[in-house]
Every structure is written in structure tokens, then in C-alpha cells.
Amino acid sequence: MSQKTLWSRCQEKLAADIPEQQLNTWIRPLQAIEDKEQLRLLAPNRFVQDWVKQNYLKQIQPLAQSLTNNPSLTVIIDVGTAAKAKISAQPSNATTDSIRAKKAIAMTHGLPEQFEHNLNRTFTFDTYVSGKSNQLARAAAIQVAENPGSSYNPLFIYGGVGLGKTHLMHAIGNQVIEANPQARILYLHSERYMQDMVRSIQSNTVNTFKQFYRSLNILLIDDIQFFAGKDRTQEEFFHTFNVLMENGQQIVMSCDRYPKEIEGLEERLKSRFGWGLTVAIEPPELETRVAILQSKAELMGVSLPHEVAFFIGKRIRSNIRELEGALRRVIATSQFIGAPITLDSAKEALKDLIALQNRMVTIENIQKTVAQYFKVRIEDILSSGRSRSIARPRQVAMSLAKELTNHSLPEIGKAFGGRDHTTVIHACRKIAELREEDSRIEEDYLTLLRTLTNN
């Protein structure tokens, strides 16, 4: 079977006739199942199927016939996939394919004896870097993994995007599967739950859908805020939830906000989501960001100088995904060039990102953003007014200008309605103090910091 397949020979011929872009859009996505009498092409979706059928099939059929010297060969096109013709690049193996196919069927039809969990094995507690920002969530997750169904149920993890909620959910699943390889654990995104349900309604298999979800031992469901406004899905999930809870099975949910704050979510769900334990994950502070970078680099087998980790961590505050993106950029560039990772090479690799940040973080922009955030006018911030409602935003803006720009204190003072540099120093001290004392100010400050440094 190491010879070229009929379909790859067809593709070579088609490449000469079909413009490249169309080839890459319509022909290259097709996978093939071949036998003597038939070339069955599989399109990823019906759009590709329809287009190919209308535009290329009449070209492919005679081509395939002439390549095989078989005028009765038929070419058909369906939607689907040739089981694992893809990345694994291993020679296709009939036995494993059929097992996989059976498992896939089991996944959709809920046959209890065939179950393959879909956890990402690299997301474990060991690879999860903990810090002040996620300690509590991590501790709770470990508890749940040790006593699924009996300690905190449901476990509700909330926090902004890219902070490691999904990692924790997989870590729970991985630890449970270690102790109990038979456990029926499903991780899925709430969007997928919804699609699954819609599909089951369309194909008249609602009962198998229900049966499948209700037979789980652990349901890890991500980004539950996507259920907002989807009444039918909420209705179904309500029942799934109840059955699992009644049977003592574990549910872990994640969300980008606190359950009560999800608009468009039924009250009865909101209250149920709060039955167990609700924990927050905050954006990681600098030390944790640096530790995360070092841990990720280690996983990639790269030694990352501390100063480089510190530099990236200081620059990227928004979320861990972007942190990872920047790190990968630095590592990939240095590996490609074949030079060690240094502070300079990191700066060079991230220069576009930094330039962009610098462009966005001007004193003017800070004033504007802060004014909008506190709902005051820029003129007020620049004015000599001293009422608390405008003095506080002004101090926050000055403090941010000091932290985020390279302007000197006198320059900053000047930009704030011609104030003295000592006023700027005072503002910075005051805000530092308040951030320690008042968690709301701390939160405001961090939100502004993130807004200004990303997006």
C-alpha cells in the first residue's frame, strides 16, 4: 500500500487544471476511500460536498476512470471522514480503525461498554502552576479528584478567559482516571453539548443523547455561560444535572463569571450551580506568570533564562494563552535561527507586540480609558477640581502612567493639567496604599492595567 493512492494521483492531475486557491479550498480537504469499483470522496461538510459535486465531479470521474483503466469506476462524494487518514501518519490499521469507529459510535449512542474518555493527558495537577491567584481553585479541584461525587458537587470554577479553568478540569479527570480507569469521564465545551442536543433532535435520537449524558461518572463542562438564552438546552441540561447529582456523580463546571451573574440563565439552574462549591481563578500575578512561563518552557524541553521569563511576564498580563503564545514565539524563533534565548533575542522576537503596546499605552490613552472606566470626563481629570469623585480617577490615571509609560514624573505632571511632579509621586503612593487596603480599588486598577496593555 506504499504506492500512491488513486486519489493522490488524481490530485496531482487536478493540480494542473484547477487554480491553486480553488484546489486548496475544495480538493485538498477531501479524503478518499478507494476500492476497485468506487472512489468515495469524503468532504468535511455539506458546503464542500455540494460545491465539489457541482463543479468538479464531472472532471474527477473521467480522470479516475482513465487512471485506473476502468470505465465503470464510479466516483461519489459524501460528508464524513476516513477514519484516521490524518495526522498520526501511522500506516492505517484495520483493527484499530474499527475499534475507533466503534468507540465513536459508542460516544454518540451511549453504549456503556465502549467508552473512551477524551482528556488531554498533558493537563495534570503536576503541570498546573499554582499561585495566589488560583490556589483555592486548585485545592478544591484536588479535593474533588480525590473524592469525586462526594466532596464538592458541583464544583463551579469561574474566571476570565485563558486563566487555566480548562486545565484544572482536565486535571481532575486525569487524576480520577488514574485511580479508576473504568470511570466514564467526559470533558466537553457547553457549545458542543448544545450541538449534540440539536443533532439528536434532528436525527430523532434524543433518548440516546439523554442516556449517554446521564450515564457519566464525571461530567466536566466548560464555559457554561454559553448556555445563556438557550432555553431548550438549559431545560435538557437541568435534567442531566439532576440525574447525575441524584446518582452521586460528579459535575464540574467552568464559567467566565459568577453563576448569579449569568444573564439569560434560568434561576433554577443558577441556584443549582451554587449548591456545591464556587471558586474563582484570578489573573495570575507577575510571580505566577513567570513561574508559568518557566514551567511551560520546561515542558517544551527548553531552558528559559529567568530574565527572559520576567520580561515576557511583565509585558503580557492579560491571560495565560497569550503568555504561551509569546513564549512560543520567542522559543520558535531562537530555535529556528539556532541561537540561544537571551533577553535581546526575546525583545527582538516580540518587537511587534511591544511596539503595539507602546503605541496603545500613551498618557492620553490612559486618561481616556480611565475617564471612561470611572464615567467621568477627561476635562475633569485634567482640571484642578479636588472632589473625591474625580481626584481618585486622576490618581489612578497618574499611577498607571507611571507604571506603563517611560515618561518622567514632571512629564506626567505636565500632561495632567500642568501639575507638579510631587503631585504625581503622591498619587502613586496613595494608589499603592489603597490597592492594599481596598479590594475594589485593586480590582479597578488591575482591570485598567489589563485593558491598557492588551486590546
Binding site: P44, F47, I87, A89, T333, L356
Partner: protein, 239 residues
Amino acid sequence: MSDTVQYAMQYVFDFGTQAQHTFEQFVPGANAVAMGLVTQLAERVGEPQLYLWGVPASGKTHMLQAACQRMGAQGLPAAYLSLAEALHPGVLDGLEQLALVALDDIQAVMGLEAWELALFDLINRLREQQVLLLLAAHVPPAMLAVRLPDLASRLSWGPVLRLETLDDAGKREVLRAHAAERGMELSDEVIHFMFAHLPRSLNSLLAGLEQLDRASMERQRRVTLPLAREVFISRIQPH
């Protein structure tokens, strides 16, 4: 004369149908690192996700097409999709069954809820199935008008690479490479003439090359300065 005018009009828009975008053909200029990383991705030894950005004609589409072509050469299914031309988010369905997905012009669908959701869901599926992903847009992720924060963070998951447009020397090199592929002889003076009389964007220079090639074939003449003059100057003159 008016024949030439019509002629030019007809073929300027036709450009591209014969051009092949491969890695071998890419003139890296200042984009050597980006090209290297995309090549590694397409050979499945690099990063699983890359985001390319740059002004039009900086080579984004070329990179994406070349990556698809390289996957095809390895017998692996890949898809190139320009989201500026795609009509329905359903075109993203099922793409996790492929080995590489290359999405061009993603800025075109930002702010559209159904698209953002579909793209977000696609990225999740691709990650799960370990499918390679190439993204391209005019601007970096932070400047896209994304509404869904879940999508925004996922776009920056891998390295973000800027492609810079070629300088004139680079453009000359591209012209020569394309000419060689067509079996055309392109002298320095013709290139010089083209730079002086055509807009200097790579796309218009390549369109010009196409015109010259066709004119040369049609009139059975070699590509010389007089021919270039006829083709380009007559094109600009009112009839």
C-alpha cells in the same frame, strides 16, 4: 490600440490562476523567520498554530497556500479558506478531520456573532484533534474587532508573526522567479520599465508580468522594452 486596452482589462483580473504559491517560490526578504516557522508547521515539526499578519501583498496568502500544498504533497488533507469570501460559518464544520486548516482574512468576520462562535468552536476542536492551524489577517490579534473574549485569547495561542512587504530588490527577485517559471526572459531594463510605469505593489507588478507574457505569446514576439512600452503605455493612453 483599443484592442490592447480591452486586452489589459480582461487579464489584469485574471491574474493568479496559473501562479503556484509554494515555499520554494517565496522570496523571504525580511520574513525569513516567519517563512521558516510556517514551513516547519507544514512539515509537522513546528508549532501547531501560527498567526500571520501584515498589509495586503505581504505574502500571507502565499504562505497559507504553500502550507496546504506541502500537506498535499505528504498525502494529508488540508483546507485553505478565505473568510472574506466564505458565505456561511457552516464551512468550518468538520474541518477537524483534516491535518491542516489555513484561514485567510479572518478580520472579515470579526464582530459577527455566528462567525466568532463558529471560529471559537473550530479552534477548540482543532486543539482536541491536534490539527494544525494557520491564521492570517491584516492586523495583529489585539487590533481585531473581536467581540468574544474566548476567541480573542485563542487567536493569540501560538506565535504571532508579522509579514513585511518586500523592498524593491525583493520584488525584482519575485518578478524574475515568476518569469523564469513561465519561461520568459526578463531583462533588467524591462523590469526597470515596469517599476517606472506600474504601481509598485507586488500584485500589480505580477499582473503586468502576466500581460507581458500574454502579449508576447499572442504577438509572437520576445519580451523586450518596445513590447513593454506597447503594452503598458498604450494601456494608460486614452484611445
